[in-house]
């Protein structure tokens, strides 16, 4: 497996967060009784996106091995279906959310682990975002249980 550049990883992560945020926002429109929770999930994704992008842009000078830091990630394995069919139930949509929260958390943890020696601060941003997605997964599961 060949290395993935920092730019490619960050771009992929930013798109995941954008799409996840859109997913929750649309769901919030469709299911007003869960609006507050769903909007807070979207906000977490927005904050993660800003944090990862800002950290990358502000520390790319330190990340001098940016092209050679992440060796064993195949981004295709982390493709996520964020589509929301018109007639999807809240429970089914949240199950989808549980799946992608786990997938995103897993990707971010892997990136953080692999790049911690050479990308330092960027790795930290991924580690924190992974933790937030894991916490969020639990919150989504709790919402399904209600």
């Amino acid at each position: 497996m060949s290395e993935v550049t920092a730019s490619a990883i960050v771009d992929f992560a930013v798109k995941l967060e954008e799409n996840a945020s859109k997913f929750y926002k649309e769901l919030a429109e469709r299911f007003p009784d869960k609006k507050l929770s769903l909007q807070s999930f979207a906000k977490t994704c927005d904050r993660n996106r800003i944090s990862i992008l800002r950290t990358y842009q502000e520390t790319i000078t330190d990340a001098i091995e940016a092209g050679y830091s992440v060796k064993e990630v195949n981004l295709n394995d982390y493709a996520v279906d964020f589509s929301l069919p018109a007639n999807i139930s809240l429970a089914d949509a949240l199950k989808k959310a549980v799946d992608f929260e786990e997938k995103v958390a897993s990707l971010f943890s892997t990136v953080a682990e692999q790049s911690k020696d050479l990308l330092h601060t960027i790795a930290d941003a991924f580690r924190i975002a992974a933790r937030k997605h894991r916490d969020q997964k639990q919150k989504v599961e709790a919402l399904i249980g209600k």
Binding site: E3, T5, S7, A8, G67, L118
Partner: protein, 502 residues
């Protein structure tokens, strides 16, 4: 992987920025070509000496007012410039990819480095403070004040078109001087963008000027009696025989940063995996067109038996060549790519000449980058893949001269002392690095090696904005260096005041 959107849609007509006006040059225009796609992305003038003289006049016209502007107000212009650079961070980075050829991670790193210099220079109210002592004799006080000097010229190279002028210009204007930047005519677009942002940031007309061109503009700068100093980054022959010499003759201050041949030592106790990752960036980042790029990798056999040393050498070579052979080469706006093209076809030809010379002189070519293999369907005009030679000796042309391309020379040194002698035998002294887990060898290296920038487990020892960019021997001509406090000192005159009141 998809190509990031190109910010330059139509060819850019590069203009001069003189006295707060955007001026079309009367000089001949030449094309600016994206080296990855070979498409024309702009045209740049070869401005005339008269146009440069006009900029000098505009700068001096602005000087008196600007030097009287309180440092805190000058700093606010720099804060605004920093904000504007941040707002345009991504566009500027992609312009750098298009005009130069480097990959997007490298371009963003370059833009960040440039911005960091603006940030540091914005601390000018503190940085420019003098010092004093009361009662140097009874009732007499003495103090030093730092004052701006006048108008400075900045002549920058093609390899870091955005960043290098920002090693100097922010400090020049922060200290109350005016500046005239002559960008590289190969990739001047990002400098035009910076000037647009400087205008928007509120620098008064004449404080920040850009005159595009080639030798005629450089000569006019050097000859002009009203230019107080020159900051230059480029090749050693020009730095030494033209810039430094001429500045001496005309009484100008000078910072002339020049060529390099940087050695990287790998000691037997080095963490090989991380050393190799660092070396890939060092030797092949920016397609090797970096004055801090690794050029000679010296495998050191200190403390090893002959057999152990041979095994260690083979292990390093194998890891290095394996990694280098996997580097993905292509257009820098493709995020999967790890190395872009060299800047133009002439440079590629020159690098190939060195590769041929290496073969001719008996070095062993173990990875031939002339066999171009690209990610994506791009014209191969300016592309090379990584090249690796082994069994190189310091007296070979490729072991001695600056290649400025993606060519690595691997050498053997039986002992640490022999490796240090190799470094000292080379006329350049820009940077040198050592990879080791031993504090003893690291300290010896830092203490003894005659190079301006030392890396300990760092492949590219590039000083941050708040430290000077070092350089010794044939890699630097001058006294004070660019960036940080030395730049503040360079751009100011120390005036001593001795005061007594009757």
């Amino acid at each position: 992987m998809a190509i990031l959107e190109e910010p330059i849609k139509e060819p850019v007509n590069v203009m001069n920025y003189i006295g707060g006006e955007w001026v079309e040059s009367k000089g001949k225009y030449v094309d600016i070509v994206n080296p990855a796609t070979m498409k024309v992305i702009g045209r740049v003038p070869r401005s005339t000496a008269d146009e440069l003289n006009g900029a000098v006049k505009a700068a001096w016209d602005a000087f008196e007012e600007w030097r009287r502007t309180p440092p805190v107000a000058r700093a606010r212009c720099l804060f605004r410039l920093k904000e504007l650079l941040e707002e345009n961070f991504e566009e500027l980075s992609r312009i750098v990819v298009m005009e130069h050829g480097k990959i997007i991670d490298e371009a963003r790193g370059e833009v960040r480095r440039g911005i960091e210099n603006v940030e540091v220079a914005a601390g000018i109210p503190s940085l420019m403070m003098g010092y004093n002592l009361e009662d140097v004799a009874r009732g007499i006080d003495e103090y030093v004040i730092y004052q701006p000097v006048g108008v400075f010229g900045v002549i920058s190279p093609f390899n870091f078109p955005f960043m290098v002028p920002l090693w100097f210009a922010p400090y020049a204007v922060a200290t109350g001087n005016c500046v005239i930047i002559k960008p590289s005519s190969e990739d001047p677009i990002s400098q035009m963008k910076i000037a647009e942002l400087a205008e928007e940031a509120g620098f008064p007309p004449g404080v920040w000027n850009v005159v595009n061109g080639g030798r005629e503009v450089v000569n006019a700068m050097l000859e002009h009696p009203d230019i107080s100093g020159i900051c230059f980054v480029g090749s050693t022959p020009v730095a030494k025989n033209v810039i430094y010499k001429k500045c001496g003759e005309t009484g100008k201050r000078v910072i002339a940063q020049a060529g390099a041949k940087n050695f990287i030592l790998v000691m037997p106790d080095a963490n090989l995996e991380r050393t190799i990752a660092a070396c890939m960036t060092s030797f092949f980042g920016n397609a090797g067109q970096r004055c801090l790029a690794g050029a000679n990798l010296v495998v050191v056999g200190e403390g090893l038996s002959e057999q152990e040393f041979n095994n260690f050498y083979d292990k390093v070579v194998k890891a290095f060549v394996d990694s280098a052979s996997k580097i993905r080469v292509g257009y820098g706006l493709d995020e999967s790519v790890q190395m872009g093209p060299v800047r133009d076809e002439e440079k590629k030809k020159r690098i190939i000449g060195y590769i041929e010379k290496g073969i001719e002189e008996g070095a062993k070519l173990v990875l031939d980058g002339r066999q171009v293999k690209l990610i994506g369907d791009w014209p191969t005009n300016c592309f090379l893949n990584p090249t690796v030679f082994t069994e190189v000796t310091p007296d070979m042309t490729i072991g001695r001269e600056e290649i400025f391309g993606p060519v690595a020379c691997i050498m053997r040194a039986r002992t640490f002392d022999e490796a240090v002698d190799m470094i000292h035998g080379n006329p350049y002294g820009n940077s040198a690095s050592i990879f080791t887990q031993s504090g003893k060898w690291a300290r010896e290296f830092r203490y003894r090696v005659l190079c301006g920038n030392i890396g300990i487990n760092i492949g590219i020892p590039a000083p941050m904005a708040f430290f000077p960019f070092g350089g010794m021997k044939n890699s630097f001509f001058g006294v004070l260096h660019g960036q940080g406090r030395e730049a503040i000192r360079f751009f100011t005159e120390a005036k001593v005041v001795i005061e007594r009141w009757f």
